[in-house]
């Protein structure tokens, strides 16, 4: 089973790949809205990619108020 660190790294890798941000330029404590420059619909796209990648469902309300990658990863981790 993945550790939280592994999950966090996969979230960062997925985000940089799909939102065309240089690999390695994202950090766990970064605000993903600001760093990725995404709007609400792109947030949903990210949610879908994360769900498909990790094989989980992540209800939107679980990520409401979450803006950094580390907290997002912890929400995912609790569903693995």
């Amino acid at each position: 089973m993945r550790t939280l660190e592994q999950t966090t790294q996969e979230v960062l890798d997925l985000a940089s790949k799909h939102f065309n941000v240089p690999e390695g330029s994202l950090a766990p404590e970064d605000d993903f809205f600001k760093k990725l420059g995404i709007d609400s619909l792109q947030t949903l796209e990210m949610l879908s990619r994360l769900e498909n990648h990790f094989g989980i469902e992540l209800p939107d309300y679980e990520v409401q108020g979450v803006s950094d990658f580390r907290t997002l990863a912890s929400r995912i981790q609790s569903r693995l």
């Binding site: 809205f33 995404i38 709007d39 609400s40 619909l41 947030t43 949903l44 796209e45 949610l47 879908s48 990619r49 769900e51 498909n52 469902e57 209800p59 939107d60 309300y61 990520v63 409401q64 803006s67």
Partner: protein, 267 residues
């Protein structure tokens, strides 16, 4: 009319298949103009039906199939009216939407929604009028109406109940959460999953299959298996209008319209 190009949608008939393309910026929000053009589309059914086996409804918008009702138009229109005028106007709009959606639901040809991106609220309700939903893996489905103090008003609850188990309907409705296409397929909402960007291609392949069957038999089979829940649809309009009369609804609409939240469709 075998082809039409309007402000919010266009359609074209070719080889027994109609393709209806939704194309209203930013995300095919359903307001008065889109409704009027849907009514024109439905009015063309009688002439098109004898030569039509299938109809594909899909979206040209990158954001998705449809984000639902045009809440800005709804709020801005309602804000100028007295309470009595506002309720009459909302009821009239719903009656028109239901008439158009019921016609699509009962169309004498097989209807296929090819869904990508957001399919929320009224957009999901439009997709639910179709016989088959094909969705790409990035599609998401939701009924977020409770955040506005409302229920889905375009026929979504009766249609979703018709098609699926009550438990999933409760989950979507009472949490307002969005679900991905994989989950939607697992519960039977989505008939076929497509790779990202491939929903239309798969819908076309499905339509090509449907075209092979005898039209009279196809229409009879559809009529036999697909009932329109008219009584519940009427009750939905009444309940929606009752809820719309509450002051919290206009307040919630105002908040949505003025919001700069990253996820404004969540409460």
């Amino acid at each position: 009319m075998k082809s039409f190009t309007g402000k919010t949608l266009r359609w074209e008939w070719r080889d027994g298949v109609i393709e209806l393309t939704l194309d209203r910026e930013p995300a095919n929000e359903i307001g008065l103009t889109l409704l009027a053009e849907l009514e024109q589309f439905v009015a063309a059914f009688e002439a098109l039906a004898p030569e039509t086996a299938a109809c594909i409804i899909y979206s040209e918008r990158k954001q998705g199939f449809s984000a639902g009702a045009d809440l800005r138009e709804l709020y801005q229109g309602a804000a100028q009216l007295s309470e009595k005028e506002r309720l009459a106007s909302v009821r009239a709009f719903l009656e028109r939407i239901h008439a158009a959606f019921n016609a699509i639901d009962a169309a004498p040809f097989t209807t296929i929604a090819a869904v990508h991106g957001v399919c929320f609220g009224g957009g999901l309700e439009l997709a639910l009028t179709c016989d088959i939903i094909v969705a790409d893996k990035m599609a998401r489905f939701a009924f977020p109406e409770l955040r506005l103090g409302l229920i889905p008003g375009f026929g979504g609850i009766p249609r979703l109940k018709r098609d699926l188990g009550n438990a999933f309907v409760r989950d979507l409705l009472l949490t307002g959460r969005s679900v991905n296409a994989t989950r939607a397929q697992s519960v039977g909402l989505v008939a076929q999953l497509a790779a990202e960007g491939e929903a239309l291609r798969i819908a076309r392949a499905t339509a090509a299959q449907v075209v092979k069957f005898d039209g009279v038999t196809r229409a009879a089979a559809k009529n036999f298996i697909k009932t329109i829940p008219h009584d519940e649809l009427r009750r939905e309009i009444d309940l929606f209008c009752e809820l719309f009369a509450r002051p919290t609804v206009m307040a919630a609409l105002k908040k949505f319209v003025e919001s700069s939240d990253a996820m404004p469709y969540l409460p």
